[in-house]
Symmetry: C2
Subunit: 222 residues, 2 copies
């Protein structure tokens, strides 16, 4: 498959790009509003992968070209760009393209980070609302610390939580997730259950803030 | 110490009562609006403990008498009774009594459970608002499956998340929590961070609903 990471030059984009390129045989397409920036990022990712004797199957494009070529499009952009990024690429999305959203709305104060969803109830549902009706949307990868993903020396032992209304799309993303070493995908039902999934992101950041012994905090359910 | 479980005849009360009585040397006081009901529950808990050769240090009272005798008062009541239960016992609470709240507001529909906090932002903050000003309030034990606690054959490997504005009270509850075998307390900062902690409760119930291999789901952060 071809996996596009829109905003793939950012920290969560980098982490997912490196893990997909390192652990799977899928082709990774880095998208950015500026294709030059995407190609620069790809050079860095390829160097990192080649230093580990992994031949990098990874290329840089502008967001629309990356989305156009992909089977799975991951919106690895900040939450306030998620809706606009969907609209910027909507002409190249169709019922065969799975749109994946990991973004979470948060607000910080001196106490920590607080979950701050948009009026739709969650960023995941906002993406579904802004996407063309026929495009299946899956919420995934919300709760993964970017630094934990990007450090390929770090053995993962993490869960990622999936929400979607389209069971086939969810199954595809579940399989993709499980191909990353040390990552396990759990089903949390339909998009309506996204808010509780997204809330874990500020929580794990708060846990890292208040517990010195924990960094880049992730979660396992059992 | 003396630990009172108000509403200690319910499922989370039972779970915490059995674990505290089994794993620690603290005295456990079961409170109920009906003291007869509390004493009946205590008989059942004592039988369970004696079948494991544990001498049960556990007694039943009405809620106010239990709270009056206790150093730590755990509000193991449904969320919609939490505020009223605080007010029913407020005359016997003081700055030396730590009030612990594990309740979470949720609403269910066909998709699953959804986090449904009161206007204060969380049940934890509602309890703090309804309690006398000098009483330290700690949010804890929100995310523990009652059945997982109550089955003493079940080896726990779980985290519980603490929020409080009073560091000494939080430290006391942290130590108490860590005395339960297989339970680790993590600090999540002040009461203002309670909502993201409480949100984990509907999430773990949804995870159990959608993943056949998981039951009585709990969480570990690392």
């Amino acid at each position: 498959m071809r996996i596009a990471l829109l905003g793939g030059t950012g920290d969560i984009g980098q982490g997912l790009a490196l893990r997909f390129a390192h652990d799977t045989d899928h082709e990774v397409l880095i998208g950015s509003r500026d294709p030059e920036k995407a190609r620069d990022a790809v050079e860095g990712y390829a160097d990192e992968l080649e230093s580990r004797d992994v031949e990098a199957n990874i290329k840089g494009f502008d967001n629309e070209m990356a989305a156009d070529r992909a089977d799975v499009v991951i919106l690895s952009v900040p939450p306030y760009y998620a809706g606009d990024t969907v609209e910027a690429v909507e002409d190249v999305l169709d019922s065969e393209t799975i749109l994946v959203t990991p973004a979470v709305g948060m607000q910080g104060d001196e106490d920590g980070l607080h979950y701050h969803p948009p009026g739709t109830g969650s960023v995941t549902e906002l993406v579904a609302e802004r996407a063309p009706d026929e495009v299946p949307v899956v919420g995934a990868f919300h709760n993964l610390a970017a630094d934990a993903l990007s450090d390929l020396d770090n053995d993962l032992d993490l869960d990622t939580l999936l929400v979607a209304n389209d069971d086939d799309a969810k199954e595809t993303v579940r399989n993709l997730s499980n191909e990353i070493d040390g990552l396990r995908a759990l089903d949390v039902g339909p998009l309506a259950n996204a808010a509780e999934v997204e809330s874990v992101t500020p929580l794990v950041i708060n846990i890292a803030k208040y517990n010195e012994e924990l960094h880049d905090v992730g979660v396992k359910f059992h």
